[in-house]
């Protein structure tokens, strides 16, 4: 909201109104194959929770422990609710939810730099064709199409500031960006001013819509559409602002998820999913543990463990896990070798992620690494394999569906990769 500065109301227009009045212009936008789009509409109940541990969680202190080995670190491995599967002792609560989870231990990706790696992973690292691919969240909301939640389709709960993040959308156009709730708070100045009556508000909106239509008829751009979309989201959130009221969470849930940032944000994420938001991304920062990795992991991994396990348990209990795809990952893993600061550095060669939910096999580990965790010993999977797998889990045939980028057909996931069937139901 802040980035687009919705003060200029004459430039605003709701996305729905825009789509309703300017359908003729839609051909200029990247669209799905119509048959795929129709199929996608049937899948609109699908949702995604995408947990991004920014900087790189250590696979050795989480999903792929190597206790009592040269690079194994100080921690033990513990059994889980699934016989034969062990995780780090820093995940005691998640271990009890293993029957719902699928761990991938054989990721081998291409980039060991944060600056480029974050983008490459979240965009699926497609072949370079001179276009900017959408982040997974933008892609999913486009592919699944609108649902009837009355809420923004793609929200991002993160520490620090919020705003509308149009860059996520890539060539899909800025309206497929994410709406970020800084520290889980709604956009500023969300409430209708006390001096403005409902009647006055309605009249203002009608004037704004009229002005928007007239403006758009001559100057239509994806940016103006995005502006309108953001305004529309603001109106939606005005009606649903109670979602952000932390006082309405039960004391027990607050305790279960944790009062730290990630706990609060994951609890809000659950509420957003329950309210029907299609794609919820939760960010946690500070995982780039080049120094003091092991004491750091005691804080970081445990503070992930607590709300992650609580959320998985809640989604399973409510049945939502049958329609929500949950993914927890970083831009890469961390080095087996322990540096002189007792840290671990960046390691895309052999790392792990965890997933659960709709379309995903439960209680499984896929892939393996060498005894010391240095490299993958099974078929290595790039992020393209994961994109194929995630799309497939959401009911989207990633090998038959293509983007139409203004006439340029583009695969929605790297064409040299494929879905990992061992991960799929």
């Amino acid at each position: 909201m802040q980035q687009f500065g919705c003060q200029s109301m004459q430039h605003q227009m709701s996305r729905r109104r825009w789509l309703g009045t300017a359908a003729a212009g839609a051909a200029a936008l990247p669209l799905l194959d119509p048959t795929v789009h129709a199929a996608a509409l049937k899948q609109s109940a699908k949702q995604v929770l995408f947990i991004w541990l920014d900087g790189g969680i250590s696979q050795l202190e989480s999903w792929d422990p190597k206790p009592n080995t040269e690079f194994g670190g100080p921690f033990r491995a513990i059994p889980t609710s699934v016989p034969g599967i062990h995780v780090s002792e820093l995940l005691p609560q998640t271990a009890q939810q293993m029957q719902h989870l699928a761990i991938v231990r054989s990721l081998c990706t291409q980039d060991n730099a944060h600056s480029s790696g974050v983008d490459r992973i979240q965009r699926g690292d497609p072949k370079n064709r001179g276009v900017v691919y959408p982040y997974f969240g933008s892609a999913v909301t486009k592919l699944l199409g609108p649902n009837n939640s009355g809420l923004p389709p793609y929200v991002w709960i993160k520490p620090l500031s919020g705003g509308f993040m149009h860059k996520d959308a890539g060539f899909l156009g800025p309206q497929y960006g994410s709406l970020a709730f800084g520290d889980g708070k709604p956009p500023q100045n969300l409430l209708q001013h006390a001096d403005v009556t409902d009647q006055e508000m309605t009249e203002r909106l009608e004037i704004r819509s009229f002005a928007d239509r007239r403006y758009a008829s001559g100057r239509r751009t994806t940016s103006t559409e995005a502006n309108g979309f953001v305004y529309s989201m603001g109106l939606e959130l005005m009606q649903r602002r109670q979602l952000f009221d932390e006082s309405t969470f039960s004391a027990m849930d607050v305790q279960r998820y944790g009062t730290h940032d990630l706990g609060r944000h994951m609890l809000l994420a659950r509420r957003m999913l329950e309210a029907g938001v299609q794609f919820v991304k939760v960010n946690s920062y500070g995982w780039d543990t080049h120094g003091d990795n092991f004491n750091g992991s005691l804080s970081l991994v445990r503070r992930f463990d607590q709300p992650f396990a609580a959320l998985i348990a809640d989604l399973a209990a409510s049945g939502l896990l049958d329609q929500v795809l949950v993914i927890a990952l970083s831009e890469f893993g961390r080095t087996p070798r322990i540096n002189g600061h007792l840290g671990r550095d960046h390691w895309p060669e052999a790392w792990s992620l965890c997933m659960a939910g709709t379309g995903v096999r439960r209680g499984v580990v896929v892939g393996s690494t060498s005894d010391k965790g240095t490299w993958v010993t099974s078929e290595p999977y790039d992020i393209g394999h994961m994109f194929h797998t995630w799309f497939r889990a959401l009911g989207i045939d990633s090998q038959q569906t293509a983007w139409d980028n203004g006439g340029q057909p583009l695969p929605i996931a790297h064409e040299n990769c494929h879905p990992v069937m061992d991960l799929l139901q």
Binding site: P67, E70, G73, L262, T335, G340, H341
Partner: protein, 369 residues
């Protein structure tokens, strides 16, 4: 180190002992004839030395070697990392703890390797620190399970246990009078305890050694030591700037033992470095400590309480220093320098070449007073 130009340096490097793995702590045997190292390979590494200490190297020797130190077979029995160790002044006990919570007591003699007693789960997880009482009759331990435990060194029986206040406990030290135990935690609180009863005697502050960075708790009191008279308590740590990389100012806080008030806070680097990992007292009335920093900026320093800067530090660059041990004779020290090749050379890994880092041990002759 802003004072480095003016610091007098009279350390003399006697030997550099290669290690096969990273190490976490050093201690000498009571007779000075053994140097022991806690290994991050779950083993206790040992070197046999002349009890009177190593001789000075020849004047024309440029690169010191192992000198007359002899590497002995490492002792096994631990898991994870050996995280701490202690040798009793009476020459009887060598006690070690690990990150899986195991505590092992052996005889100190080089030819003895079987445990005299041990506890597989002395603590639930990471056994952080240990200290022997001045009479060597009791061993105090603390851990990430937030507990403090007292053990009989003679037979390993548990004498006392109590909660250390709700945080991960990092360091402890017996007061020289044997009646108080100082315990430092993750959040920079130093608890004073009557270890006989488990009663709290108060709390002293080192809160600057703590920061919550996003969801990461950073810092902690990493080392504690009393001076010989028991009038000053030194707390080692870092004034953290951030999590992740965990950079900050290596710092030493000297506290008045009468009331816990701050006598001095010594900063040993800029805000892009690491921790003072260990501090200990030299009978000639000064502190010895080690700290980590950016590569090549690790330090071993000697500091008098009354001064505003260390009077001596390592003359040549060292890697990150994690432990210092004083030889029985008081003239030599062993400093563990944790060398650190950056870990990301993936081409090496693809070729099957991916050696781990090690922590060579530097033996120094201390300056004459």
């Amino acid at each position: 180190m802003t004072h480095s130009e003016s610091v007098r340096s009279e350390l003399r490097l006697l030997a550099k002992l290669p290690a096969t793995c990273q190490l976490s702590m050093l201690r000498y045997s009571a007779d000075g004839g053994l140097l022991l190292a806690a290994g991050r390979d779950a083993r206790l590494h040992r070197w046999k030395l002349p009890p009177e200490g190593l001789p000075l190297p020849a004047p024309d020797q440029k690169q010191p070697d192992m000198g007359s130190a002899e590497s002995l077979t490492p002792l096994t029995g631990h898991n994870g990392w050996v995280s701490c160790l202690a040798t009793s002044a009476d020459g009887r006990w060598l006690i070690s703890g690990d990150t899986w919570g195991r505590l092992i007591c052996r005889a100190q003699a080089a030819d003895q390797s079987e445990p005299v007693w041990q506890h597989a789960e002395a603590h639930a997880g990471w056994l952080r620190a240990m200290a022997l009482s001045p009479d060597s009759q009791q061993l105090a331990t603390c851990g990430a399970d937030r507990m403090i435990r007292l053990w009989s060194t003679a037979d390993g029986s548990l004498l006392q246990q109590f909660s250390g206040g709700g945080q991960d406990l990092y360091a402890l030290a017996f007061h020289p009078d044997g009646n108080r135990l100082a315990v430092g935690d993750l959040q920079g609180v130093i608890g004073l305890w009557d270890h006989h009863t488990g009663q709290s005697l108060g709390q002293w502050e080192a809160r600057e050694f703590y920061k919550l960075s996003y969801i990461q708790e950073v810092g902690g009191v990493r080392g504690l030591a009393w001076n010989g008279a028991g009038t000053v308590l030194a707390a080692a740590g870092c004034i953290p700037e951030n999590g992740g990389f965990v950079q900050g100012i290596p710092a030493l806080r000297l506290l008045n033992a009468a009331d816990g008030s701050l006598l001095q806070q010594l900063k040993l680097g800029d805000n892009q470095e690491g921790f003072v990992h260990e501090v200990t007292w030299h009978p000639q009335d000064y502190w010895m400590g080690v700290c980590s920093g950016q590569p090549g900026r690790g330090r071993f320093f000697l500091h008098r309480s009354s001064a505003d800067a260390p009077f001596c530090q390592n003359p040549a660059p060292l890697a990150n220093c994690h432990s210092v041990a004083l030889h029985t004779g008081g003239r030599q020290v062993a400093v563990l320098a944790n060398e650190g090749t950056y870990g990301q050379q993936k081409s090496m890994a693809r070729e099957g070449l991916y050696p781990g880092n090690t922590s060579p041990v530097h033996l120094f002759e201390l300056p004459a007073d």
